[in-house]
């Protein structure tokens, strides 16, 4: 009995960082960044490379690029996923990464984790047809299928804990200040 649980998450490093940051709160201040360039129509290209954290400028090992657009049913050219779909990607990926980290910390071996997301919205909002309809999602439903070496209750607890500590879950479910300026 007893085998090494490996979900590929370096939990020791995370726990060590947690301890270190308790005594150096300023180092925990991170600034994440994205840049976006309009291409044509509703097609834009966003890139992510540099961010700030642990007291200094950091950089991803390469520049990541995301093309976004609107689909043909919006009379557009469909050169990329819509921005609202990218938000679902953000939520799904944050929760999924969280599940892996919590599972590692709790000694649960994951075999597979898959999520399907659905965000419902009525476009009367974004088209300005109906002032009572919001621009954003009315609700987002996330369905996880987790195959792991654990009871159903333990898996539910895993998914619950991932939400509890998820940055994107917090960003979406709670108000966030956004300021936009033109320079």
């Amino acid at each position: 009995m007893g085998h090494i649980v490996n979900n590929g998450v370096n939990v020791d490093a995370l726990l060590a960082a947690r301890e270190a940051l308790k005594n150096a709160p300023a180092a925990g201040e991170f600034t994440w960044r994205a840049s976006c360039k309009w291409l044509n129509g509703t097609h834009a290209r966003s890139t992510v490379q540099g961010f700030r954290g642990l007291g200094e400028e950091q950089t991803h090992k390469s520049e990541f690029s995301f093309d976004t657009d609107h689909p043909q049913v919006f009379a557009s050219e469909d050169n990329g996923a819509t921005p609202v779909e990218v938000v679902l990607v953000g939520l799904a990926s944050c929760l999924t990464a969280g599940i892996a980290a919590v599972a590692q910390n709790r000694g649960i071996q994951l075999r597979s984790v898959e999520a399907r997301l659905e965000g419902k919205m009525n476009i009367a909002g974004i088209l300005g047809i109906d002032g009572d309809v919001r621009n954003g999602y009315d609700n987002i439903k996330v369905t996880f299928h987790v195959d792991a070496d654990a009871s159903k209750k333990d898996i539910e607890a895993l998914v619950a804990q991932s939400q509890k500590r998820s940055a994107v879950f917090d960003i979406i479910t709670n108000p966030t200040n956004v300021t936009v300026e033109v320079v």
Partner: protein, 401 residues
Amino acid sequence: MSRVLTEHAIDHVVLERGEVANSWRQERWDSLRLLTPNWLSRLPGYAYAGPDPDGFMNLPEVVNFIAGYADETSAPVRTHTTVTSVRSVEGGYQLATEQGQISCRSLVLATGANNSPRVPDLHRAVPQTVQCLTAFSYRNTDQLPSGGVLIVGAAATGVQLADEIHRSGRPVTLCVGEHVRLPRTYRGRDILWWMENSGVWNQRYDQIEDLERARRLPSPQLVGTPEHSTLEVNSLSGGGIEIVGKLAAVRDGRALFSGGLANQLALADLKMERLLDTFDAWARDSHIDSEVGPVERFAPTRAPPSTRLSLDLRSGEIRTIVWATGYRPDYRWLNLPVLTPKEELRHDGGVVTESPGMYALGLPVLRRRKSTFINGAEADARDLAQHLAGYLAVAPPVPFP
């Protein structure tokens, strides 16, 4: 502590800013009852001796219980003696009080962690037309105008007040964030019988994996009623109280609630189940399964598929907000570098190691999970009095001017 110090023949005084049991007399709402059953009201050499051991004392009964203990133990209490500052001097401490200066070699802070209500900064954005009360200023429903009440916080205070205010006929909206769900009774016994006897309550602070988290846990959703009723989100929502997510912001006169309520409800249900599993395992291992009722599990908390995300505080729908958002200690009079950046006392199991001869009692999970309950005081007091006596035995006495 006084009673235990007397046993050690350690000369001491007890300073009280008001009358004995001041907080119970001045800072609690009228209908409050203990959420611990009376048989748990035990102090060194003293216990509840009334006719209803399984019941829950009301406010006047609690005041009598504590004042009775002070009398019976002849505690050397100086009432109406507010401490306005504490300084460290050679050999001990110098206290300034409204009755004059007091010097001592050793000091025990028994002021608790609930000296003032904790109200989030966003309360400043609430429109002036809405009356705001806290757990300290709320006394009974007569203070409230008719109309809707928004209760922020769903720990013990929040759920108790939500229930009471809703029964007064007012529409209640309750903001629920992180909370601890517990049934009042389990397998025929009070839930706190399980806490006490299974050893969960006795778990020591130095055996708890995430002590800071344990010390920050909200008080459980429990109430003491003659019916031994369970107070939980399901019964509140079933009775017509609107449950919304945690109050996240007040913007342009609108209260904004979290859309993450469902997970908070799921987390509390899961935590309760883990605790009941622990109790069942203990009952099995202690061979007492036949002495208690059969294993039970409780209905999961119903989370509506979508909950209200905002409420216009200018519309008149809400006439009052009750902030049941917790309490904090007040150490403004303690002029010593023994506080954390968040102004909480730094201590190791009640020993203020940075200030020799100083101790604290009655703080959350001070030494055990039961430290903040009446029945938790004795064990902590005995441990700390032992340490204090040892300190006095070796610390050089300094004659005071």
